[in-house]
């Protein structure tokens, strides 16, 4: 589904990704781990098309299409979803309006009519229940005044409503207490299917107890330094990142 080849990315004068290779087959969950500053979030942002990141070499294809040539909104239409590490507060735009506009944008792209208001509400209610979110969230501004945990749950809610084919979740577990972590993990597991892939960008292995990845990759200085199964995450938990960093050097 996703193929990343020799990807080099710079932010200003700073070279952040330095020849990253990664392949995510359809239906798999991959965890990307790594120390601070290793390029994890940059990778997530580049996949979603955030401005300010310069791809200096390499390629990214999504179902064989050049992903990097697409605008952020086109990537969303193709089924790429970024769960933000720091979801943006947009006072004045209703949560429910954004959900509906986003869903309709995706449906329009697929040649489907706009979602029926009644169906939409029952769909959203069902997903909100799953995420243990109160209905009052719907009428509030997007992420406005939400706690850190509420913002992350809201990201997963959006993901569940949009049903992307590739979800890239950037440190969705950071700042969550154990109960919220379970709720978020449950949301991610709900989306798991043979047609979808998930990339979990995370610093800790804690999330991986609940969302068990098929593969774990360690990013060091902008390259995959080591890949393995979930036991790699457990080993990192025990030994820290230093040994991988040293090996990579």
């Amino acid at each position: 589904m996703l193929k990343i080849n020799n990807l080099h990315v710079a932010v200003g004068d700073n070279k952040v990704l330095n020849g990253l290779d990664l392949e995510i087959p359809t239906g798999e969950v991959h965890a990307i781990m790594g120390p601070n500053g290793s390029g994890k979030s940059t990778l997530a942002h580049v996949l979603a098309g955030r401005p300010g990141y310069e791809v200096t070499a390499g390629s990214v294809t999504f179902d064989g299409r050049d992903l990097l040539a697409l605008e952020p909104e086109e990537r969303a239409h193709e089924g790429v979803f970024l769960g933000f590490q720091y979801p943006v507060e947009i006072p004045g735009v209703n949560n429910v309006y954004l959900l509906k506009a986003a869903l309709n944008a995706a449906r329009k792209h697929r040649g489907l009519p706009e979602v029926d208001a009644f169906e939409f509400l029952s769909l959203v209610r069902e997903k909100m229940q799953l995420m243990r979110m109160d209905e009052s969230f719907l009428s509030r501004g997007v992420n406005e005044g939400f706690s850190g945990g509420e913002k992350k749950r809201n990201e997963i809610l959006q993901m569940l409503v949009l049903e992307p084919r590739l979800a890239v979740l950037d440190e969705t577990d950071s700042g969550l207490d154990i109960d919220a972590l379970k709720v978020v993990a449950n949301g991610v597991n709900t989306l798991r299917s043979p047609e979808r892939s998930v990339v979990l960008v995370t610093h800790y292995q804690r999330l991986l107890d609940y969302v068990v990845p098929d593969h774990v990759h360690v990013l060091v200085r902008g390259k995959i330094a080591r890949s393995g199964d979930r036991t790699l995450a457990l080993e990192l938990e025990k030994r820290g990142y230093d040994w991988v960093t040293e090996e990579a050097a």
């Binding site: 947009i90 735009v93 309006y97 954004l98 995706a106 997007v142």
Partner: protein, 426 residues
């Protein structure tokens, strides 16, 4: 003010019926002649476009209103609010539905004889003198102590006359007795001609423990010149909230001066302004903290597109003895066009200790993080930008507590932003 303009104003005044008999008007005219009108060299007037004044005839239209106005032409009424309509500054009983509310007295100034002088006189309030000299009518509103009339009055000022033929002078005096609660809506529209000269003077006085919600909507015609002077005084523990939406006119200037004269009085000034094409919207809002422990909250949101210019100068003066002052200013401008210009300016002058004054001012383009967030959810760029412009204003518009009015204003804002698609949001 140029000598030619001063001469012309004096000549126009001499030709009016009041010129000989009314001492108060004569005094106003004299004061105006001595001081002159502001020019763009005056510090607090540098953003306003005063050039169109050269072509104005300052007297009210000689033969009365030029365009017959019917109820259908007026904005949709708001449930429970009694309506008083003024055409070219003159009360029009046939377009009005007077209040039946006990304790609320509304009189046409015409009916009660000579007008009272504007209580405050500072160089920035000189346009009020022009109103005083020429106004022939207006609304005098008295609210008796203890009256509870929260959905109360709506004043609709309609300008119909071309500026070169005659001017419109809306005039309002609102006196609210102790412990009373009042809601006032004030609208300014153009019907017939869209090239009017309107010069408005409003004075508000709020007695102790009283509270006033005042909504102002400026939707004058596309070629209109709209000048406005609003003064307010608050007694002990009085509350005054002024919500303004500035949408219309080619050149609009609003001068606001609020005095917090009583301890623990509170003023909220919430303004939105949307300018497009070659519009100029300028506001100067001064709040004077005179008594101790008073509060000010001031929020401005302006969007500027085309070659428009939107300016907001929010000044707070904390006088000696006004300890315990708490003031917040949040002034934000959004540039929606390369040739547009936004000027937001918070100013603080503090002459006492023990005050808390926060202020923030920003002028810029749409927030890139917000934009990317919406794009990443699949919204197309145009929709995302539209939504963010809307959200930018909504912050302040949401404070309008009359749902019908808020809806009307939101519709107008959407229209003004030229964003028909926004209406589906509402």
């Amino acid at each position: 003010m140029s000598a030619a303009l001063a001469t012309r104003i004096a000549e126009d005044f001499a030709a009016t019926a009041h010129a000989s008999g009314d001492l108060q008007r004569q005094r106003a005219m004299q004061a105006l002649t001595e001081r002159g009108l502001p020019t763009s060299r005056d510090e607090n007037w540098k953003y306003v476009n005063l050039r169109p004044l050269e072509k104005v005839r300052f007297a009210p239209p000689p033969g009365g209103p030029q365009s017959p106005v019917t109820t259908q032409d007026l904005p949709a009424p708001i449930a429970q609010y009694a309506r008083y309509t003024f055409v070219d500054g003159v009360f029009a009983p046939n377009l009005s539905a007077p209040t039946q509310h006990a304790g609320v007295l509304v009189k046409s100034i015409k009916a009660i004889g000579p007008i009272s002088p504007h209580p405050l006189s500072t160089p920035d309030l000189r346009f009020a003198l022009l109103n005083e000299a020429f106004a022939t009518d207006g609304a005098q509103i008295l609210v008796e102590p203890g009256t509870d009339c929260q959905a109360c009055l709506e004043l609709v000022f309609v300008a119909t006359t071309e500026a070169k033929v005659g001017a419109s002078y809306p005039r309002v005096s609102l006196q609210v007795g102790a412990r009373a609660r009042v809601g006032l809506i004030e609208r300014h529209v153009s019907i017939g001609s869209d090239a009017n000269f309107i010069n408005c003077a409003v004075d508000v006085s709020v007695a102790r423990d009283a509270s006033v919600q005042h909504y102002r909507v400026q939707q004058a015609g596309a070629r209109a010149i709209w000048f406005d002077t609003l003064t307010a005084r608050l007694a002990e523990n009085a509350k005054y909230q002024l919500h303004s939406a500035s949408l219309g006119a080619l050149s609009a200037r609003s001068t606001v001066h609020v005095q917090l004269a009583g301890e623990r009085s509170e003023v909220g000034l919430f303004s939105v302004s949307v300018g497009g094409k070659n519009q100029v919207h300028d506001t100067f809002a001064l709040v004077e903290h005179i008594a101790a422990n008073a509060r000010t909250e001031q929020s401005f949101r302006g969007i500027c597109a085309g070659r428009a210019r939107v300016a907001f100068n929010g000044k707070i003066i904390v006088r000696k003895g006004a300890h315990g002052t708490d003031s917040r200013q949040s002034l934000r401008g959004l540039l929606a066009g390369d040739d547009a210009e936004i000027d937001v300016r918070p100013q603080l002058e503090i002459y006492t200790d023990d005050v808390r004054c926060n202020h923030g001012a920003t002028a810029g383009k749409l927030d890139d993080n917000m934009l990317f967030y919406l794009l990443s959810r699949g919204l197309d760029r145009e929709t995302a930008q539209r939504l963010l412009k809307w959200a930018f204003l909504e912050d302040v518009v949401a404070k309008i507590e009359v749902p019908e009015l808020r809806r009307q204003i939101e519709q107008s804002l959407a229209g003004q932003l030229n964003e028909a698609a926004l209406k589906e949001l509402l």
